[in-house]
């Protein structure tokens, strides 16, 4: 392990700080050809910063990078690229207006030797070859705008391949993927490993790290904790390294009494998106909405919340039929929606915690003539920030300075402050660290216990199984199954979610 010549890339004593944050503190990391090296840690542990140091986006304040034993610096992404470093990020960094083929070759498009003219024919041929090699059926002339996240990831991988990458960094590539897509990704990853590519794999799903990786390195709060070869370590050990303690249970759903029907959806249809969706949600119940990415669960939620209302079908709240044509009306009925994309849809990043929490209920603090009662506003924000244990220097802190987990807490605080009866959560724990995840689950359980009705969209089966009282499964815009907590199994849900025939005993 310590043989220098064996290492393709070696980082020693890397430190990096940003105003107010020590993102990396004396971190070591090494990478060998033909291995998958998983990098794990809670959010804010410094994984992404380390990746950006390797890809040349950030320059370390201290420390040394060795490539094939030689010290190097990566002053910009281009130099890193020239050393064969390629990266795939959680959010695909593609150009929506350009074609798939162009995206693959951006920055190193094939040109005719003399004229430097773009060789479009060769570009599309080679792009087609790369996509074929990955087993992806995608026309390289298609525009990227409109592709699914999974398709975009594949374009990213093809892009990395086109660079003949010797080091491929995958930063949370699976968080937006369905199980099936993840399997594809793993298949491709293994193939790359066999071809001798060194792969850095970052994921918050430990089971994936164990499935794929040869070694696992753990970071915590910007510090290096340790590296373990996979066969000789356990999930428990790695979790302990990550959080510094053992976790008892991730899914603490308590049994609560289920009350009357709070929300009933009947025959909800939106042309081209979903058809004839029906289900009901009771007081104190957590209803899991399972399915693959692209099953149009989010579209159903958006229809209920009034962001893009359905074409036909009816919604009943508290046994009254209602029309919800915009979020304001949903809000008035006590329905709130916590979107999956926190940064874009959930938060106003440049504004402070107070202002974010009170955004939907600002009118409550408006006195005569619209005058804002700042102290009342602050009190409310304080109350809910405390209830959710938001960690920040103060309520005045801008949300963009908070960690991902704390941002999610602010989003939840915002919606709880609106005192909803019906809470729709869209992938509530996506991309947040283990500790916050547990806190979110605990909170959901508590809220249900207080009589709130929760509709939870989740692509993580353990979460669905652990948290839901009942489960509705969708496939391609249609409801394909209903299960109770007792009858649901991973296999049954998966079958329904992939549109396969099943027997519901």
């Amino acid at each position: 392990m310590s043989d220098m010549s064996e290492n393709l890339l070696e980082l020693k004593g890397i430190s990096k700080s940003f105003p107010g944050v020590q993102a990396l503190d004396n971190v070591d990391f090494d990478l060998r050809p033909g291995e998958v090296h998983a990098l794990v840690g809670e959010n804010g542990a410094g994984k992404s910063t380390l990746v950006k140091v390797i890809t040349g986006v950030h320059q370390p304040d201290a420390g040394e990078i060795r490539f094939q034993g030689q010290p190097v610096t990566f002053p910009n992404p281009l130099v890193a690229q020239q050393h064969g470093v390629a990266a795939i990020y959680q959010e695909p960094t593609l150009f929506p207006d350009l074609s798939v083929g162009e995206n693959i070759f951006i920055g190193h498009q094939p040109v005719r030797p003399m004229t430097r003219r773009m060789d479009w024919k060769r570009l599309y041929e080679r792009a087609g070859e790369l996509l074929n090699a990955l087993g992806v059926k995608l026309d390289p002339r298609t525009r990227v705008r409109g592709l699914s996240v999974a398709q975009q990831q594949m374009v990213e991988i093809a892009k990395a391949l086109s660079l003949n990458a010797r080091i491929l960094i995958m930063d949370e590539p699976t968080s937006a993927l369905t199980l099936r897509d993840v399997e594809d990704l793993f298949r491709i990853t293994r193939r790359l490993r066999e071809a001798g590519t060194a792969i850095v794999f970052i994921s918050h799903r430990l089971e994936e790290a164990f499935e794929l990786a040869d070694r696992i390195t753990v970071l915590r709060d910007g510090h290096y904790v340790g590296t373990r070869p996979v066969p000789s370590t356990t999930t428990d050990e790695v979790i302990q390294m990550m959080v510094g303690r053992t976790l008892d249970t991730l899914f603490p759903k308590e049994e609560v009494e289920i009350g009357e029907v709070m929300l009933r959806v009947e025959g909800l249809t939106k042309e081209g998106l979903f058809h004839d969706v029906s289900f009901e949600l009771r007081r104190g119940e957590i209803l899991g909405l399972a399915g693959l990415v692209g099953a149009r669960r989010t579209d159903v939620a958006r229809a209920i919340f009034g962001i893009s209302p359905a074409d036909s079908g009816s919604i009943w709240v508290d046994s009254r039929q209602v029309r919800i044509s915009n979020p304001q009306e949903a809000l008035a009925l006590g329905i709130v929606y916590v979107p999956e994309d926190r940064q874009q849809q959930g938060l106003v990043l440049p504004m402070d915690i107070t202002q974010n929490i009170t955004l939907p209920i600002l009118r409550e603090f408006a006195r005569r003539g619209g005058w804002l009662d700042n102290s009342a506003e602050r009190e409310t924000a304080q109350e809910f920030a405390e209830r959710l244990d938001v960690r920040a220097a103060g309520l005045w802190q801008k949300v963009q300075q908070l960690s991902g987990g704390n941002q999610q807490k602010v989003v939840l605080a915002k919606w709880l402050a609106a005192r909803p009866h019906i809470l729709i959560l869209d992938e509530p724990t996506r991309g947040i660290d283990v500790g916050t995840k547990a806190a979110v689950h605990e909170l959901m359980s508590k809220l249900a216990g207080q009589g709130m009705s929760i509709l939870m969209i989740s692509s993580e089966l353990p979460e669905i199984l652990g948290m839901s009282d009942r489960i509705v499964v969708m496939y391609e815009g249609r409801v394909t199954a209903h299960f109770t907590r007792q009858e649901a199994t991973q296999e049954k849900i998966m079958a329904a979610a992939t549109g396969q025939p099943f027997s519901n005993s």
Partner: protein, 330 residues
Amino acid sequence: MTVKARAVPSPSILSGLLLRWEWLLVVLLGIACMVNASLSPYFLDVHNLFDMTFHFMERSLIALPMAFIIISGNIDLSVASNLGMSTIIMAASYKAGLNIWLAMLLGLAAGAVGGLINGLLVARVRLPSLVVTLGTYALYRGVAFVILGDLVVTGFPSSFTAIGQGYVGHTPIPVPLVIFAFFAVLFGLLLHRTAFGRLVYAVGNNETACRFSGVAVDRIRIILFTLSGLMSALAGVVLSARFGSARPNIALGFELDVITAVVLGGVDINGGQGTMPGVVLALFLIGVVRYGMSLKNVPGQIQNTLIGMLLIVAILLPQFLRRLASRSRA
């Protein structure tokens, strides 16, 4: 609230205070006054100083809602054309025999409708505001010409012209200045002290998150553009009262002056940031600089050049200082 000491420095009070845009403008305004006073003996005269404000009160009235619109992440290029259209509708209906005050209300309503159309196209059809108002920029001015052609409306009653030419009682304070002061305070309070103002900032910073938070984004946009149209019409009332006449080419080219002032006032052209005091200071800064140059008989074109330089230097200066500061820190 758990205040976990996560080495986040609270913004340095000193640098925060010193680098506030408004202070920069105050300093520039002070310098402009001193330069003017030393260059021209006529500058330091109560009457002249107050009379100076006559010339930019109309632009200032439009700048108030423009600041809102830019903070909300949009822009309105049609203000001057809308001013022309609403003023001509007012003047033409007065000429047709309508009572001047009713005509004025009609003009204000027309301006509001013009703004409303902009708002509807932006909020409902979801077109970029720059594109929409570029179209109505031509359309509204065109409507003014359609209505009045090469004619002129004059002979407004003196009770009306007093709005634009008069003084408050026997003081040297012009009526337009008072009108502007009233609306500046009103808009300042609206932006900084009310729920509506807060929502304008929020929409300018992240429209999507606002939609997902149940904020009536479309309604806010429509209200803002309507308000802009209304204030343009009001500016038209003041301007035509000051002229004592109205022609279709009234206020040609005001839009760029207004945007310049708002941006100089520290409003982020990309939305989400800016203050009313900053905008008011910038309006006075430009007014004073222009007046000083007029007193020295600087040709119009050269005046524009200097204002353009002022804009660029004022935007570059803080950045330059910040870079210097960070360099010295490093």
